[in-house]
């Protein structure tokens, strides 16, 4: 049987324990401080690198802006070209309302009709005076003008302002068409 007896005074044991604990704290503390110093240095270094990159980009941008400025006439011409084309596209080859209404009325008139006057105003409204040889031509004219398929739904109202029949049996009519 082995018997061990600690003859050291208890203060010494406590001091030793305290010393070991302090070494641990010292190790952890120094590690923390070193990590902090490392992080500070790292962020600083990254910032320096980043500033260098930013300066590089700024120089590149300034250079490119200068080159764009040198080519400003080309850019102005392109801008003008695009700007003009947008307007021209709305009008070139697109019949105005007045022209398309006139073309439609001309198409809807029976061949036997003789138009003595026709007027298409700024709103697209049409007034015309026509002489028709017979009743069927008159009927055909009115039917064509009022049929939504024939008039392509471009007319909202067709008004017969006057209708006369002369001795020869010719119909003279004055019509007003309101465009949509």
């Amino acid at each position: 049987m082995k018997i061990s007896i600690n003859l050291l005074p208890p203060e010494l044991t406590a001091q030793k324990k305290k010393s070991v604990k302090f070494i641990k704290i010292q190790f952890i503390g120094i590690s923390i401080v070193l990590v902090m110093i490392f992080l500070s240095s790292l962020t600083l270094a990254l910032r320096i690198l980043q500033n260098r990159n930013i300066s590089l980009y700024q120089a590149r941008v300034a250079g490119a802006e200068q080159r764009v400025s040198d080519l400003k006439n080309t850019q102005a011409s392109l801008t003008l070209l695009k700007n003009r084309l947008q307007v021209i596209d709305q009008y070139l080859g697109v019949a105005s309302k007045q022209t398309s209404i006139y073309q439609l009325v001309d198409k809807l008139l029976p061949q036997s009709a003789v138009v003595s006057s026709i007027s298409v105003d700024q709103t697209g409204g049409v007034t015309f005076v026509a002489v028709l040889p017979d009743n069927s031509a008159l009927e055909s004219l009115v039917t064509n003008l009022t049929d939504t398929e024939e008039n392509k739904e471009k007319f909202s109202q067709v008004t017969i302002e006057s209708l006369n029949r002369d001795k020869q049996g010719l119909y003279r009519t004055s019509l007003r068409i309101k465009a949509i």
Binding site: Q50, I54, L71, Q75, S77, T79, K82, Q103, S119
Partner: protein, 228 residues
Amino acid sequence: MKKEIIKFYLEYKLYIFPAVVALSSLFLIIFAIYPQTAKLIDGQKSASQLAGKSEFLETKVQALESVDGEDLARKVRFVLNALPAEKDFANVLALLQQLTAESGFSVSSIALGNSGTKMGNSDSFDVRMEIRGSKVFLQGLLSNLENSPRLIRVKVIDISSANQQGADIALSLGVLYSGLPKDFGAADSPLPELTSADEGLIAALEKINTTTPTSFAQSPRGKANPFE
């Protein structure tokens, strides 16, 4: 005194050392790590913005350098013929006379009317034209007018005393013009791209310009280079 401080430290080192470490770490965090990290994040945004801008400008420069100057000038000439910056009455009168004659009409009178009328985003001035000819050719004339090298819109059609010998026709036309844009785009503004539809339109303008007499259709009046 010194001995007292050392004695005090030795007695409380278990508390003093961690406190010093904590304070140092806090100091480093507050005065170095946090501000630098914040600046780094901001700087990253600026750097990526600058990189994007640089790339955009480089692409723009390449696009501008690849533009054929002569071809562009030719296209600008066509669009300025169609929609000039000024009214250019002389060319309009010549064009109207030419188109009416080509369409089989004789001009009785041409009067310049109201100017400064807005038509969409453009300005226009009125022209009242009295012509004589067969009504049969009117559709052709209207089509010629609205497909002419200069943008012209028919506003009023008035046909009177139509008979077999011909008809008296009064046309009120709107002739378009538009001042030059004030802003031709900053260095960092995107470059306008010509679509295939735009190219088609330019081709149509070119065709119209080549099929109409050269006396009035070719060059707009005013400065040769409007950007100088």
